[in-house]
Symmetry: C2
Subunit: 204 residues, 2 copies
DNA sequence: GTCTATAATGAGATAGAC
DNA sequence: GTCTATCTCATTATAGAC
């Protein structure tokens, strides 16, 4: 193996760990499985990272920092109404989940793990703060193309949006019922449109 | 230890396992921790249950069979409107989560575990079918005291309700933000009321 | 810095006395 | 049926040669 700085090895290990967790679950993400995925020897692991727990912290940091919803913004301007925009955004999100279900499961497993681990206990709050910020960004992005104003505080609506996305994901992971999930999205889109004032007069 | 039939030991072990998982997490629910909680010897475990995996199946069966929302029905008739009924029901549900957060976390952990385990892969679907049935029951129970009809299919609305409850729980477990959760409930209650036709004429 | 070899621990499961 | 004692294995982590 060529000489690679320990810091680079560390991020490579975190990425490999995420791959393993997405594919086989958190319980299967042993140090051996992780180094095998990263193509390193077992000893390299502890040279680069003090412990497995430390690496898991890195993994959580990694997923918290991920972008995520940037791809959804262009969809919003293409929609003819708020209802349609909400429908498209949620559908696109669910499609993303369907494309790689293991990755979303990995998120939930990492969150639950962090909640149970003293040193990581506060990371889920940051994770959800990030989710909420992304949803706020999305709601703001929807205002201009549709000339609308939200009738309720955007942070509150953002949290509802994240709530729906999470719940949608959990139920779909459990029963894989595409049609039922699509109907949930229809209703959720109705609900979100309820909170929008459309047809706001364009200022001269 | 007195002589207890193996079948009784088995359910006792499943209950003990659920206690351990709620308190310390699934990863900490080793056979040793479970028998300690149940007050049995380690050997009794494998006399009553073939393997740890088999017991976890029992635990999932256990939580799937649980009642859950029966306590929410009386709330519905006490409310003055559909919006109020939804608000009270969701608030009561979240209070229940707050009372024993570990138990709800245990649910999520067991679901994720089942999804990753070949033999248990289909159990989450049953679990969510049960959740949805409970929500349907709840929505039906709301019709008579409020003289209302739902403007959308009840199963669809039920799934949305479960979606909101799940998402609400996940976010609260992560950030423990009571006020934000309460605001999410307010918006969700508005949304649910949107799907109700209230003041339906009482037939003579 | 990187490897092989090996501790040290804790897990699930079992043997065999009583 | 129930117990103590033990087996076997996989895990994290480390020692020490190169």
């Amino acid at each position: 193996m060529p000489r690679i700085p320990a810091t680079e090895r560390r991020v490579a290990l975190a990425r490999a760990a995420l791959v393993v967790i997405a594919r086989d679950g958190l319980a299967a993400a042993t140090t051996r499985a992780i180094v095998a995925e990263a193509g390193m020897s077992l000893a390299s692991f502890h040279y680069a990272v003090p412990s497995r727990e430390e690496l898991l912290r890195d993994v959580v940091d990694l997923v918290v920092a991920e972008e995520g919803t940037a791809a959804l913004v262009p969809l919003l301007s293409r929609a003819g109404s708020v209802r349609e925009a909400a429908r498209l955004a949620l559908t696109a999100y669910l499609d993303h989940v369907k494309q790689d279900p293991g990755h979303e499961q990995a998120m939930f497993e990492l969150t639950q793990h962090a909640l149970r681990t003293p040193g990581l206990r506060d990371l889920p709050a940051e994770q959800y703060e990030r989710y909420h910020a992304l949803a706020i960004h999305l709601l703001n992005a929807a205002t201009s193309p549709h000339h609308l104003e939200w009738r309720v505080p955007i942070p509150d609506l953002a949290r509802l949006l994240v709530t729906v996305a999470d719940g949608l994901t959990l139920a779909w992971l459990a029963d894989r019922d595409d049609a039922a999930a699509a109907r949930t999205i229809e209703l959720a889109a109705d609900a979100i449109a309820l909170f929008a004032d459309e047809h706001v007069a364009v200022s001269a």
